[in-house]
């Protein structure tokens, strides 16, 4: 899960990056409206955590611009103003959820997971393809009811593929979801993760589409 966090306070930003990272997300950061717009124009995110009061303007304007472009990326507003009228303005402005500061990190993670899965058109919390089941909340995976041990990166690769079974995901796409922009990517990192995953969930589950990328075969 790749998330953009827009927040100008350095301590909170660090906390959000580490905290969302602990829950299995890859976090890109932006500290101003301008950075946020650039990031949103350049890449697709599974969710955006957006502070309302930014140095160069209001997060609500960034949100309005995003929605005006027809971008449906789920957005969670994070703000110090959490009175009812502020929440209403945020939600009516196109936000998917709203959280007032200070907040509980677990709740933030749960809400981000919730808006992200709805963004993928899914209501159930679990990712299921055939006998393989992933639980993004606990980063647990089971195959035929047997739990399998996955590293955080392996879980991220597998959940990216399983979010849309049958759809081909390119190596670049998977890399971005794994590392964001900051991470230093080894050239064959994705291949290594796929290799290890196949050993754990079965060779035939992840298909290589030569020259295009990878996909998980749909259950149907």
């Amino acid at each position: 899960m790749r998330i953009l966090v827009v927040e100008d306070d350095p301590v909170l930003m660090d906390g959000l990056k580490v905290g969302l990272g602990l829950a299995g997300a890859t976090v890109d950061d932006a500290t101003t409206c301008a950075d946020a717009r650039a990031a949103l124009a350049a890449a697709r995110f599974d969710a955006v955590v957006l502070d309302v009061m930014l140095p160069d303007g209001s997060g609500l304007d960034v949100l309005a611009g995003l929605r005006a472009r027809g971008d449906t990326t789920p957005v969670l507003l994070l703000t110090a103003l959490d009175e009812a009228p502020d929440r209403v303005r945020g939600l009516d402005g196109g936000a998917d959820d709203y959280l007032g500061k200070p907040f509980d990190l677990d709740e933030l993670n749960a809400r981000v997971r919730a808006i992200a899965r709805r963004g993928h058109g899914r209501a159930g919390p679990l990712l299921k393809v055939g006998a393989l089941v992933l639980d993004p909340a606990t980063l647990a995976a089971t195959l035929d009811g047997q739990s399998i041990a996955l590293s955080r990166r392996e879980f991220a690769v597998l959940s990216t593929l399983m979010e849309r079974p049958g759809v081909i995901r390119s190596r670049m796409e998977i890399e971005e979801r794994l590392y964001g922009w900051q991470g230093e990517v080894e050239s064959n990192a994705v291949e290594v993760h796929i290799h290890n995953l196949r050993a754990k969930v079965g060779r035939e589950t992840i298909e290589t589409v030569r020259g295009l990328g990878y996909r998980v075969r749909g259950a149907a």
Binding site: V11, L12, V18, L22, P55, G100
Partner: protein, 448 residues
Amino acid sequence: MTSLKRRLVLILLAATGVIWLCATGWIYASSRSELEHVLDTRLQEAARMVHSLVAGGNIAAAEAVAQATAPPEAGYERQLSCQIWSLDGRLVAKSGGAPEEALAGPAEGFSERTVNGEPWRVYTILDPDKGVRVMVGDRIGLRDRLVRDLVAGLLAPVILVVPLLGLLIWISVGRGLAPLHAVAGDIAARDGEDMRPVAPAAAPAEIRPLLEAINGLFAKVEAARRQERDVTAFAAHELRTPLAGLKTQAQIALAAHDAPTREGALRQILVSVDRTTRLVRQLLALAKLEGTPSPPLEAFGETEAGALLRDIVRQTSKPATAHVVVDDALDAVKLKGDHEALHLMLRNLHENAVEHTVEHMVGGGTIAWRPCAGGLCVEDEGPGIPEDELPLVTRRFYRGRSRSGAGSGLGLTIATMAAARAGARLTLENRRDGAGLRATIVWPRGAA
């Protein structure tokens, strides 16, 4: 509160009434003089008629005519009375209603006299040839009644019309004041939040100045409220964001399985606590500046600027690579005023300068304190402040586009307030050479 409508109706009714009264008085006077003239002419004619008969020697006929001059069915019966006297004072003949007593004296012409308690107007013709005196008179009381009846006839419709007129004025004034009611209704129907201007274009010219004044007030109230909302929003942001950071980092420290993550989170907590401590210190300073009245400047001794500044520099942490210069000439500058306010002002300016310089020059840079005309100034090597934000940065919690990570938006507010308390004025400007910001403190009354 007096009603404009009631006032207008009363004024209009009174004005109409006065005009009517004047008109009535004028009609009364002119009718009366006209009537007097007509009746006098009649008296004269009747007297001549009777006399011509007397002159012809026909006393009996004259008497008959005298009888006929008072038609009994006129409603003003026996209006005219006629007497014919011989010159030796014997009553020769008289009309039916005439009294026995002489109606007038011996003189010829018009005269007035009271006979049997009744005032008479009499015309007398003296004929020495025939030896008779002909007197024709009428009762003044009757004349008055005639005039009264005439005027009453004129006034009767007026009395009937007055209520109608009053009603008409009431309705017209009501309609005339309708735009005022419309505007009042518009304003009354608003809730406390609605500060849109009242449309003055649609209003009558008379109340437009009032509406423009109201709109001006609306704009001021709205601006004050917006600023209040901004301050509240900024304050909430500045207070809650560090708390959110602390909580998040604490939860990470609890949840982290590896030592480096936990250590990183704890370090962030320390950073956040330091910053929050400064924020709390500034909030308390602000509360104190606002909460206690300004003592008179004379109550305080002099503070040496150089020593105070070196004190502050020692208390403020900064990276070793950044330079702080306190000009030796400042030792000679004596500052008057509240020592605490001076300390607050200089400390906040110094912290501000250090913070921006260190951030802008990546750890290096120079902060220089030196005397200026009428006071002292500090120059930093920070990014400066965009010109359009200069008037705004002293507002509490205001943090511009170039805000640094550590600021709270209170430092310059406190410095400005403390300066005012010390009898000084703080001006901020970008340095001419573009290298940073210059803050100048000037004592306009030369207290430095």
